[in-house]
């Protein structure tokens, strides 16, 4: 069957399909041919790719070629990346140490002017979800203005940086892991040519060419792991050689499923809370032998201790946090070895780095002071009580931990609220149910609120059905067009209305049911249907016998709106907050107001 039409750009007025909007408009067949002759693509079997998703199509539509001048930023530390880069020509320099913000040229997100804000009151259609279908923004080839690192020798002097040569891949961990970039990368040569591959392309190549993921892992050990270890206490105190040795000895462990959301949604409906807890993949069980120091690379783990017939959650740990150090120190300092103090379970998909015990004993423990060792050793030997686990070495030493209701911790984990960077919490003891928040949201978003003031609650705190802007946005996993994406600067999860094809993949994937599919209407409130067009592109008629255009909608945190989220601003009773669930001190402060 001829699938060449898939490589053609579809007419704009027809129902949108995958690759409606290619990543780069300038990619042509000659570029694709050239890429297919290069490493690593020449190693992939084109036959392994399905006819509906050919490798050629992925390269044509999910990649673009970008050229950089010497010193030009390719990616900046902290940006949320939706793509990876393969070096075609020239070299790049990742700077592993953080650069001052003023050097990164990070702009502020453009906000609506006051005039524009007032004008929209009069421009807005009275009908819900009304919008023009044509004339929407074209995002292909949309890249930020070039920005250069000035005075490179001075800036990189004293900062660790490496040179990455032609043929290497970088940025894939941030793109696939949906995490911020960990290093700033600048072009090292003039006319550095990079192939930028958006993450949907990376995912689809990996799906049909498994050797691609092996390549990604090797690449991570070579370039990314070192930066992770350097940012982890107490490894940050070690020499570069010792860190390099630890990187070589580190094992990669993966728990849970990459698309954990489907199991979670199923389990919520069919299992009791203890059953759900037991079904979470175990990283290590209480009392089991600890074979190393565990570092969480991505995702979250639940830390529990046995309590009568059940398990009591004592902490949750996320990226950059570790467990097992107390016990390892205890076992090193004492003859009587102890097993793990806790059971640790993966919440969703978790990447763990395991540094073997002998490496910890040889390299990491000597870096601790005698006082630190004594304290950690004493705590590592304690088997009683349910003191909360602490997250980092400084907290471990000070013995400080945030006071938070045990029930709330269990609730946060049971509902996976931990995933939220902007979870909407409502204090039901203060909320008068006036719905000013809902009305404010509707006024700001096409007369249709982007959240439902409803949701599970515990101890008078409602975890409301509004997009959490997840750390791990699994809604993005199955979007065929990349319409749902993470904003580069602030990391909010947004939907590009133009490239959304209304397939509902994101709505089905959202573990919290916070994405709604809505029929869109024209400015008179009449539903919009796909159209039939002739060869000249002229619209013949609307296909009113088909489903009207549907679009995925969700909270966008009032991106571009002055003053931040309208829901928070509209609450007269200080009952509503958007909070990052990793910021436990902030959450505790809000709860104890």
């Amino acid at each position: 069957m001829d699938h060449s039409h898939l490589l053609e750009r579809p007419a704009k007025d027809d129902r949108p399909i995958r690759w409606r909007e290619p990543f780069g408009l300038s990619m042509d067949e000659a570029d694709v041919d050239k890429l297919l002759r290069m490493e690593p693509f020449c190693n992939f079997s084109e036959e392994a790719f399905p006819a509906m998703l050919p490798l050629r199509g992925i390269l044509r539509n999910d990649t673009r070629i970008r050229r950089f001048k010497k010193g030009q930023f390719v990616v900046r530390e902290g940006d949320y990346g939706n793509s990876a880069f393969l070096i075609l020509e020239g070299r790049v320099r990742p700077i592993l140490d953080s650069l001052p913000q003023e050097l990164l040229g990070r702009g502020t997100v453009k906000k609506r002017s006051m005039w524009n804000t007032i004008a929209r009151v009069f421009r807005q259609s009275p009908y819900p979800e009304s919008r023009p279908y044509s004339g929407a923004e074209n995002i292909a080839d949309k890249v930020k203005d070039a920005f250069f690192l000035q005075d490179i020798p001075r800036v990189i002097d004293g900062r660790e940086s490496v040179i990455v040569e032609s043929g290497e891949l970088f940025g894939e961990i941030a793109a696939l892991g949906r995490t911020p970039r960990v290093a700033t990368v600048i072009a090292e040569d003039d006319d550095t040519t990079l192939l930028e591959i958006r993450w949907q392309g990376l995912r689809d190549i990996g799906r049909f060419a498994p050797e691609w993921y092996a390549h990604v892992d090797d690449n991570y050990r070579k370039h990314g792991l070192h930066s992770h270890l350097r940012a982890t206490a107490p490894i940050d105190r070690l020499t570069q050689d010792a860190q390099q040795y630890i990187a070589e000895q580190t094992r990669f462990l993966r728990y849970g499923s990459f698309d954990w959301q489907h199991k979670f949604k199923r389990d919520v409906k069919s299992m009791t809370l203890p059953e759900r807890l037991k079904s979470e993949p175990v990283v290590i069980k209480e009392e089991d032998y600890l074979n190393g120091l565990y570092l969480v690379r991505a995702g979250f783990v639940r830390v529990t201790r046995n309590y009568n017939k059940g398990e009591k959650t004592v902490a949750y740990l996320g990226k950059g946090q570790s467990f097992g150090l107390h016990e390892l120190v205890h076992n090193h300092e004492n003859d009587a070895a102890v097993g793990s103090r806790n059971t640790v379970r993966a919440l969703g998909y978790v990447d763990i780095l395991l540094i073997p015990t002998h490496v910890v004993d040889e390299h990491i423990l000597p870096a601790l002071s005698q006082q630190e060792r004594s304290q950690l050793s004493a705590e590592g030997g304690q088997r009683t009580g349910l003191t909360r686990e602490t997250n980092d070495l400084s907290s471990m030493m000070s013995g400080k931990s945030e006071e938070i209701n045990d029930g709330l911790v269990e609730f946060i984990l049971d509902h996976r609220a931990i995933n939220g960077t902007a979870a909407m919490l409502i204090d039901l003891d203060r909320c008068t149910r006036c719905d000013d928040c809902v009305r404010a949201c509707a006024s700001t978003h096409e007369n249709n609120p982007r959240f439902i003031r409803h949701g599970p609650a515990t101890d008078g705190i409602q975890f409301t059905n509004a997009c959490l802007h997840c750390i791990d946005p699994v809604c993005m996993l199955e979007c065929p067009t990349g319409a749902i994406h993470r904003e580069e600067d602030e990391g909010n999860i947004l939907i590009n209305d133009y490239t959304c094809i209304g397939c509902a993949s994101c709505a089905n994937a959202c573990p919290y049911d916070n994405i709604q599919m809505v029929p869109i209407t024209d400015k008179k409130g009449i539903p919009q249907y796909p159209v039939e067009i002739d060869s000249s592109g002229k619209i013949l008629r609307q296909k009113t016998w088909e489903e009207p255009f549907m679009k995925a909608t969700k909270c966008d945190l009032c991106s571009g709106q002055k003053g931040g989220p309208a829901c928070v601003n509209a609450c007269p009773h200080d009952a509503l907050v958007r909070t990052d669930m990793r910021d436990l001190p902030g959450l505790v402060r809000w709860l104890n107001r």
């Binding site: 149910r433 009305r439 003031r453 008078g460 009032c558 002055k562």
Partner: protein, 272 residues
Amino acid sequence: MGYFTRRRGLSIFVFLVVSALLLGLWRILYHSLHPDANYTGLALFGVILFLALFNARKKIPFLPVWKASVWMQLHIYIGFLSVVLFLVHIRFRMPNGVFEGVLAAVFTIVSLSGVIGILLSRSIPRLLTNSGESLVYERIPALRTLLMSQAEDIVVAAEKEVESSSLTDFYIENLRPYFKKRQSIWRMLSGRSGMRDLVSRLENLQHYLDTRELPALEQLNGLVEQKHNLDFQYSGQRVLKLWLFVHIPFTYSLLVFAIAHGVLALNFTGRI
């Protein structure tokens, strides 16, 4: 000390200081034979206008002009200040004219409804939270219908199974009216919802049922409790909305009366 306690303490302190200053200023104006009523009247009108702007602010939520919670705090404490200004304006005497009497009555209604509104806003949400699942007000009638159809299904299934009408008779006589009708706000908020009586009658019904009907009885018991929560949520949320139907229309009336009063007063004093 929590944030809210600190905020309340500071706001009350500022309110007391400003009120004392206002009273002091008025005493000076009064004793120096200035037209104090004109000044205090104008100030009072300005204050009322500002208080009324809170509602306008709510209509355009995307305007970055302070958060609604800041407006609310200003609304509360400037509202209290308006009472002080009002007392000063009427020189702590009862108004003697009909128009002034009506105006004063409207002001009193607006002020009192505001105070009641604050008290309700601070007490009912906690009662609603303690009562059970928080529900969206607009969904409650649909949920009530759903509960009734669930109860009917349970009763019909039980009757089919045991071929006895005890449960059905009880349902028609007692439960159906309970599920069908929304309990009055007064009954709900005063703790006379009738649920307790119904639950005890359901308990007594066990004597006339087949053991196979007991699970159905248990389920009905659960539905009665759910219905109680529905009615409680509905009543509580309705009260939280209803007081505004007094406060806001009377505010508009107050503005109209105040303008008329100002024009008349200035006219009589020969200033316009």
